[in-house]
């Protein structure tokens, strides 16, 4: 198991998240894509920590912990916004929130 | 005589018995990895066997204790051939009934998720049994972050409840599942904070270290369990109430209340799948009782120095059975809470009280653990309790009942 394999796994996961965020119409699916991308980034942090020369430097682990906390906060706020928008326009499709369009 | 002493020693420390057995097998020339697998299987089999037996006993004892509280007998017919045995074979009859019942799945239900929900519910319930210390040196997996493992794996239960509720394609199931998850998430915070209080004072997240921190006897005969301190008593009560809510037990059993939501998220389950949910709930209840005993009641420690001749695992299971008995007692005594009362209780009473207990424990430690520290911690826990308690009881006060008789 090399670092490159772990980074490749995280890159594939990131690509999945990116494809979901850019192509799905449902805003909750977009959020799912964002969560996948954040997970891939966390995997990168932990892989680099695992392969570092002095693992007693816990920067990678702590960064991953903070990233998980921030992702949780962002998911909560994002979903609250989605619920609020749904109450207004009665739809969760991102294309339907087009009041300011053209 | 020697054999007798050996037997007594093995009774005191079953892990020595296991080690003797594995050494015996090793002397036959088996490779190390087979020995490791055999020992792991024996440990897993014992733990699951003990807890399934406790589940079976609990299911009939709960009905009998509830019945005696209601001035009637519980199940007392099912016995073994010609002996009644006070109905203690009722679980066998219940098991046969559950297995032979028709497994109905609604046609429009999501088949895969409906099938997987009981499995996903059972897995965390069994996994958390691995970190509980059942006796001296008798913890199946001594993890460095055992308490965190307990809560992390317990989060899987919420996923299972949602899967069960949604897959049934039934409005009441979905509603029951949402209420159950809201309840579980709300009560998880006082549960975790109460556990963190015990971990903070012990200085470790490992359950065996927390039990060891409650060892020793003050003044020679008073046990140093955390429940006997002001902050520990508050934290134990918080953990207990939150554990009742996490296991969906009365008075927090609105998600399963027959009169409100049919059976909530379990409406469309019958037969063995329902038995699996039932089993997962009870095993979860025992696991969380075991955690309460570990964190606050001293784990496998005996209460008095001369009582250590009774094996440590006897003390542990005795304490767990006592806590389970009190849970059944509470079920027999208190009425069910409404969902908004339940959530208000969690967020407006238990959460501030858990913070107060946390600060009280920290002050107890940093004030030197002397008599002043005890008074200070008592004040820090007692004053918010009195304030919040009076605020709540004034809010939900019932007016004086007046009667009017027809003329």
């Amino acid at each position: 198991m090399t670092l490159q394999i772990l980074l490749a796994i995280s890159a594939i996961l990131f690509a999945f998240g990116l494809a979901a965020t850019l192509s799905r119409s449902n805003s909750i699916m977009i959020l799912i894509g964002i969560e996948l991308m954040l997970g891939a980034a966390n995997l990168n942090f932990i892989s680099f920590w695992r392969f570092s020369e002095n693992p007693s430097d816990l920067a990678g682990i702590l960064f991953a912990i903070f990233s998980i906390a921030v992702a949780a906060a962002e998911a909560a706020v994002g979903l609250a916004i989605i619920i609020l928008v749904h109450r207004r326009i009665n739809s969760v499709e991102a294309d339907d929130a087009s009041n300011l369009k053209g | 005589m020697n054999i007798f002493l050996e037997l007594v020693h093995f009774l005191q420390a079953p892990n020595e018995l296991l080690r003797w057995f594995i050494d015996l097998l090793g002397s036959f020339g088996l490779p190390q990895w087979i020995l490791a697998i055999i020992s792991a299987l024996i440990i897993i089999g014992t733990v699951i066997g003990v807890f399934l037996g406790l589940f079976a006993l609990m299911s009939v004892m709960e009905r009998k204790i509830l019945a005696r509280a209601q001035n009637r007998y519980g199940p007392n017919r099912v016995g073994f051939f010609c002996w009644r045995l006070c109905g203690l074979f009722q679980p066998v009859a219940d098991g046969i009934k559950m297995i032979t019942k028709e497994d109905l799945v609604p046609r429009t239900a999501d088949q895969v998720v409906h099938l997987l929900a009981p499995v996903v519910m059972m897995i965390p319930a069994l996994m958390v049994l691995a970190i509980i210390p059942y006796g001296r040196d008798m913890v199946p997996a001594d993890l460095n972050a055992g308490i965190l493992f307990f809560f992390a794996v317990g989060a899987g239960t919420e996923v299972a409840v949602f899967m069960a509720g949604w897959a049934s394609n039934n409005k009441y199931s979905v509603l029951g599942a949402m209420r159950a998850i809201a309840q579980m998430i709300s009560y998880e915070i006082p549960l975790v904070i109460a556990a963190i209080i015990a971990a903070m004072i012990s200085g470790s997240l490992s359950p065996s270290a927390i039990v060891a921190a409650q060892g020793g006897f003050a003044w020679g005969f008073v046990p140093q369990w955390f429940v006997l301190t002001p902050w520990g008593f508050a934290a134990c009560l918080l953990f207990y109430i939150a554990a009742l809510a996490e296991s969906n037990r009365s008075p927090f059993d609105l998600p399963e209340g027959e009169s409100e939501l049919v059976a909530g998220h379990l409406t469309e389950y019958s037969g063995f799948k329902y038995a699996t949910f039932f089993m997962a709930e009870y095993i979860g209840m025992f696991a969380v009782c075991g955690m309460l005993v570990t964190l606050f009641l001293g784990g496998w420690q005996a209460p008095l120095p001369f009582l250590t001749i009774i094996p440590s695992w006897c003390w542990f299971f005795g304490k767990v059975c006592f806590v389970a008995f009190t849970m059944v007692w509470v079920r027999a005594t208190l009425p069910r809470l409404r969902i908004d009362h339940m959530l208000a209780f969690a967020w407006k009473f238990l959460l501030p009280m858990s913070f107060a207990a946390f600060i009280s424990a920290a002050c107890w430690h940093y004030a030197g653990r002397g008599p002043l520290a005890w008074l200070l911690s008592l004040a820090i826990v007692g004053i918010p309790y009195l304030v919040l308690g009076t605020a709540f009881s004034n809010r939900f006060a019932v007016s004086r009942r007046t009667y009017q008789f027809s003329e």
Binding site: A15, G17, L36, N42 | A40, V113, A141
Partner: protein, 182 residues
Amino acid sequence: MICDFLKTCCADPVNFLGDWFVLLPAMVLLLAGGAAVVMRNLIHAALCLTLSFIALGIVFIALGAEFVGFVQLLVYVGAVAMVIVFAILLTKPDQLTKSGSAFSGLGPAGGAAVGLVALVALLGFIFTSPLAKKPLPAPASAPVAEIGQALMGDYKVALIAIGVLLTAALVGAAVLAMEDKS
């Protein structure tokens, strides 16, 4: 006790399965992540996402960062997945099986193309960069006590900032989602 017996039989109990301890959950992670992206049924996508979170947590534990793995399971599976599921239930209870167009904007082909371009770029960097050509060191452990010391020591400002951020985010989310009772 199981850990004891495992330690007596092999030098490194975590590597009992060798590399497959990491690679098997990683394969589940990729499969579940891919499934979560292409599923039409939103609840199935959310459940696949939960499975991918669980697999990611197991990968973290297998890499030796047990604390992060447990935190991942506790926070992502116990909280984020539940919040996503609640949002789905509160916003679309009737249209879950509606087979409208699940893709918009770039469409499935466009999204896959952009993902592929990003993947190729990232893999190019990964397999050519000298930073990634490191040998596997001995298994490291990050005991919880050390993480606690670091959080309260070098990283105390970050810890307090995270606390403020989480409080603000949760109070904000609660206020946003509250029904207008006027």
